[in-house]
Assembly symmetry: C2
Homo-oligomer: 236 residues x 2
DNA sequence: GCTGTTTGGTAATCGAGGTTTTCACAATTT
DNA sequence: AAATTGTGAAAACCTCGATTACCAAACAGC
């Protein structure tokens, strides 16, 4: 047991195979699409037999879940490291850093957002759960930075939970568009837009500035003053 | 040809079956999930034979595409009608109306956002294309309103394309979270957050206010001034 | 009421892909 | 050098679900 083959340890060979399978998965899931990718195709591309495939993964979904987790973990790692380097900078710098590093990490390869925001959606209950966990993590990150900004007086003191979730959604939507758009969108533009949106969302005052020539109309949009109702039952 | 069965015209019967199949599809796709839903299950629930199924649809995906299109069309209809009713209101009112009616339409039933933003993602190239068309339409809608606001001096005069796409993403992300969240999020909160985010995103000035105590650092966030770089190759 | 025609349900077929198993080989150890 | 064991390729299997074809039933005309 545990015999060295071809000069490399057996666990090293296993790890290599696993890695090649993941690479093949990333490639095929984002070109052929997850649904249409066959396990045998993945094995062929990775130069791995089906037997070894089942030694590493329980099926296609397992590969997808692993990739999804990896991409998010990688981004989280980069962002955490970068934020540590600007530990005592002002709130705006930290927020901009968080966003820029995230965008940079995830746009080095269009297959990354494609896998994360298109292929890994609606596949299984477990994957949806995993997605939600990650949204939660990213939202918490943003929330923390927003609270930090509030503590420094750079943003209002309020609950940032939903704002954070919305911002994660904005990033997701924009990146999904980015990887699908023809002709390709400039990454700088996407990054700039998200940066501005994020700052505007966090720094926005509790009340929007008054619009001239709108007498009597409540402009306090934080309250649930609603205009132009027309149908649609209200749901608790 | 064209014979009346059971007192109803054949095309009426066909339409009824189609409708029941769509209802069954909506129900099963959002509970069992699209992937795991079998055509025979759909037929059983709809009280329709498989033969009649293939008379109406080419397969599962056809049902999904139809539902996806319907939900978006319905929302678009409602929003268009509501905007017509506030045709000469101020920009803020119109934007708030657009958003509120959209949210109201799509949250009457949690299955609607579930189907649109989870189950219909990453299924096929055609569906992705259809998704992009709808994102485009919604973004154009928002863009138009933003330009209108700019024309009235309520917002800066700039390109709102990416802002609009990001806002569509924010709505998508928030609704995806809404339909999945346990315990359920209050719809009012989601609507309020999106309303505020949308207004903040559109009305935001070109430059963010100066942060005191940050000497030398460029605060013009519209320019591609980047902080905290650490890795990640730049991509054209 | 009987017949021909249209519609609907059921059951059999067909194919595709996932999963397992077998067999041959290579490398290492005694 | 021979035996042993881990390893990989490929084929066989086997399940499952989409699709179609056939048969039964219902209705209008004669």
């Amino acid at each position: 047991m545990a015999r060295t083959y071809g000069g490399v340890a057996p666990e090293q060979r296993r790890a290599d195979r696993r890695e090649r399978l993941l690479a093949a998965g990333l490639e095929l899931f984002t070109s052929t699409g997850f649904r249409l990718t066959k396990i045998t195709e993945m094995c062929a591309r990775a130069g791995v037999s089906t037997r070894n495939f089942y030694e590493e993964f329980t099926g296609k979904e397992d590969v997808l879940r692993t990739l999804h987790d990896r991409i998010n973990s990688l981004a989280l790692e980069h962002v955490t490291a970068a934020l540590d380097q600007v530990a005592d900078a002002d709130a705006v710098t930290r927020i901009v850093t968080l966003l820029d590093v995230f965008i940079d990490t995830v746009t080095v390869d269009p297959r990354l957002p494609r896998l994360n925001y298109v292929e890994a959606v609606g596949v299984s209950a477990e994957l949806e759960e995993q997605h939600q966990v990650w949204v939660d993590r990213w939202a918490s990150f943003i929330e923390t930075e927003a609270r930090r900004a509030a503590a420094h007086g750079a943003a209002p003191d309020r609950d940032y939970r939903l704002t954070a979730i919305a911002l994660v959604g904005a990033a997701t939507g924009l990146l999904r568009e980015w990887q699908a758009h023809e002709p390709p969108l400039p990454v700088e533009d996407v990054g700039a837009e998200l940066r501005a949106l994020m700052l505007a969302a966090i720094m926005r005052p509790g009340k929007i500035l008054e619009i001239p020539g709108n007498p009597g109309a409540p402009s306090g949009v934080e309250q649930s003053s609603r205009a132009g109702e027309q149908g649609g039952a209200r749901r608790t």
